[in-house]
């Protein structure tokens, strides 16, 4: 049973955040950094690739200094448009610049239990259950690994997580929790089994892979090698910078964009040097560290601006973007969560970021909340509605009806009203009740969202994975488990 997917499309709103000259300055500064300071690539394989293309490498420090022309030429080989395939092809996601899709957030370490409300360590079953709820929700277009399967061994954890999502959802899966080549090789094998072979996987990548950079100006060796394995198999690969003003980046916003941009485009260039034409994406979740503690904030005006700046850069490089929005720093679904997740998602959507991550986590992407997940979906549906803008034509100007009703009447009985009333937004979780009704219950959005999540979990039956295929995936996973 394929659910519909709700996305922003054909937007009517625009935002002028950075001029073409601003973007060019950021780009030139970035090339200067990559060429003169360099970026750390602590992987022999990555260093070999850079060296064979004429970049200057230092084996001691793993620092690569690449001329701007090499980076620019490599980036030009990246395809601007491709699809993220789903197990159910009607849920394929075109990354074509005309859609904004939302995924679940990741990768949390604790879960607010859907029944008891207790906070506890995340486990494999949580991933399965979150995927099942995500499969049902039309705002969720694809999955990240929402929480970590901490009851599975570290060496195969990322694979158990993938299997759990595939078994509970027909939508595209993007993993952000595979950090070494060995695990990536098995993940590719598993994805090929789901897609129907290596060649089919290349045509229909049911899996994409996202790696974090190691700011400032560095990468993780295991992540690089995992990404290379995935790219070789034709899986879309992205690199996400989380460089933060004050700690891992300069205090100024433009400077922090330069640091993050150097990390991301150097990694994407590496992938293109190794596998020209491989699908890649830009990813960013930049922020400003808290002035007092230095902690990750997960929200604030700087975040929102970075959220819009990312797509301007990825458009400049002509690759899709995965942008960190939502992911509030709030401890519970509250005022702060509402502000942060609304503004970050609006700002990232108005520039048409292709993928947004993601719904459901609190406390800076650490604690899963089903209530937050559903309320985040509502935030996105509001943004989708806003992005439709105000169409103006004869029908929408409604001149005939205005004339028919005249002064002092009302529009409730008009056929025009009947025809268009369902275009108006109807929220699930906003309290529009009379005051006395609220006073009797004193409940609200988080309570209703939780009830809905329980109902979905108890009743939604995703289209199952063939048990033979499931068993095959298990066998693959077992090949790398330490005995």
């Amino acid at each position: 049973m394929a659910g519909k997917i709700n996305s922003v499309t054909n937007p009517r709103l625009k935002l002028q955040l950075l001029s073409p000259q601003d973007i060019e300055k950021i780009h030139q500064a970035t090339l200067d950094v990559i060429e003169s300071v360099g970026v750390r690539f602590p992987s022999p394989k990555a260093l070999d690739i850079w060296a064979s293309h004429g970049a200057s490498i230092d084996r001691e420090t793993s620092i690569v200094k690449a001329p701007g022309s090499l980076v620019e030429a490599a980036l030009k080989k990246a395809p601007p448009i491709y699809i993220l395939a789903a197990r159910d092809s009607s849920q394929d996601l075109p990354l074509d610049g005309n859609h904004v899709f939302v995924g679940t957030d990741g990768c949390g370490v604790e879960v607010l239990d859907i029944y008891s409300g207790e906070r506890r360590r995340s486990r494999l079953q949580d991933i399965a259950e979150i995927a099942r709820v995500g499969d049902f929700l039309e705002e969720v277009a694809f999955h990240w690994v929402a929480v970590s399967a901490q009851d599975r061994p570290p060496e195969s954890r990322g694979l158990h997580e993938l299997k759990a999502v595939w078994e509970n959802s027909t939508k595209h899966v993007q993993t952000e929790s595979i950090y070494n080549a060995r695990e990536a090789e098995v993940a590719v094998e598993m994805a090929a089994a789901v897609a129907g072979g290596r060649q089919a996987l290349r045509q229909r990548p049911v899996l994409s892979i996202m790696q974090c950079t190691a700011p400032p100006l560095g990468h993780d060796g295991g992540s690089l090698e995992a990404a290379l394995v995935a790219a070789e198999a034709g899986l879309p690969v992205g690199f996400m910078t989380m460089s933060a003003c004050l700690t891992t980046g300069p205090a100024t916003l433009a400077g922090n964009l330069v640091v993050g941009n150097a990390e991301v485009i150097s990694a994407l260039a590496l992938i293109q040097l190794a596998y020209p034409g491989a699908p890649v994406f830009y990813a960013a979740a930049q922020t400003a560290s808290d002035l007092r503690s230095g902690a990750y904030t997960g929200g604030g005006p700087e975040d929102f601006l970075f959220g819009a700046a990312g797509n301007l850069l990825s458009d400049f490089y002509n690759v899709p973007l995965s942008m960190g929005s939502f992911a509030t720093g709030a401890k519970q679904p509250d005022w702060q969560a509402g502000i942060e997740n609304s503004l970050s998602t609006f700002m990232a959507s108005i520039v048409m970021s292709d993928m947004l991550l993601g719904v459901g986590l609190l406390h800076g992407s650490r604690i899963w909340s089903y209530a937050q997940m559903l309320m985040d979906c509502e935030i996105f549906s509001l943004v989708v509605k806003i992005m439709e803008g105000i169409p103006v034509d004869e029908e929408s100007l409604a001149l005939d009806v205005i004339k028919a009703v005249g002064p002092g009447g009302n529009f409730l009985k008009q056929k025009h009203t009947l025809k268009h009333m369902r275009d108006l937004y109807l929220p699930n979780y906003m309290d529009r009740r009379p005051y006395n009704q609220w006073e009797e219950q004193k409940d609200g959005a988080a309570d209703w969202a939780l009830v809905k999540a329980r109902q979905i979990l108890e009743t939604h039956q995703p289209s199952p994975l063939d048990p033979v295929l499931s068993a095959e995936l298990s066998r693959m996973i077992s090949t790398i488990e330490e005995k």
Binding site: R121, S148, Q150, Y179, A214, L291, G294, A295, Y296
Partner: protein
């Protein structure tokens, strides 16, 4: 006698001016001032000032870090003279710190090291991707009071347990305390592996370290 010099020392820390702090420390040695006096009547006054400004919200983390770095340089400049005189700076305790094997994330760990050192701990920072064994051996060698170990990934966090176990095996527990940190670390994890403390940020880590040393 050297009031102006002591004042300048304090100010160099407040301004986070490491170069000036180093210069003033050298000057103190040349003038034959007891290094401990230079520290306690000069530099430490500056550290305390920045600390209290931070506590009431007038100073921010970068100012603390810069003051900490300036302090570190001042103290290391004075160390040879202390050794010559056979004196030693009183520290709250010795801490061996590092990011666990398989993990290269160092910002949080480095921040904690700086804050601890600025607050009067002697810190041995072993860097990133450090095995439990290496941490524990360094702790034994330096007779450390605390081993502090960081991890950003759930897959590497599990190795924080190895540090506690290795200390157990060497019979160094419970004298040597273990502090853990990193985004996935929770209070429940700390008690599960039998560590002694954790904090979500560097300022909190200093408080925990002091508590573990019995300083309120």
């Amino acid at each position: 006698m050297h009031e102006q010099l002591f004042k300048d020392m304090a100010q160099s820390i407040i301004d986070g001016d490491a170069e000036l702090a180093e210069q003033l420390a050298k000057q103190a040695v040349e003038l034959g001032i007891d290094p401990l006096e230079a520290i306690n009547q000069g530099f430490v006054i500056g550290v305390n000032h920045v600390g209290s400004e931070f506590s009431c919200g007038n100073a921010f983390l970068p100012e603390l870090v810069m003051a900490g770095e300036a302090m570190k340089i001042a103290v290391s400049t004075l160390e040879p003279e202390m050794a010559r005189r056979g004196t030693e700076r009183q520290v709250f305790g010795k801490v061996v710190i590092g990011t666990i094997e398989g993990d290269i994330h160092d910002i949080g760990k480095t921040l904690v090291a700086t804050m601890l050192s600025a607050s009067g701990f002697k810190v041995f920072d072993l860097g990133v991707d450090v095995s439990a064994l290496k941490l524990v051996e360094k702790a034994r060698e330096e007779k450390a009071d605390i081993v502090a170990v960081s991890a950003l990934l759930t897959t590497t966090m599990v190795r924080q347990r190895d540090v506690v176990e290795a200390l157990d095996d060497m019979g160094l527990r419970p004298q040597v305390k273990v502090m853990v940190g990193g985004a996935p670390v929770t209070r429940e994890w700390v008690s599960e592996i039998g560590a002694d403390g954790y904090s979500e940020d560097a300022i909190g880590a200093v408080q925990i370290a002091k508590q573990l040393m019995g300083i309120s």
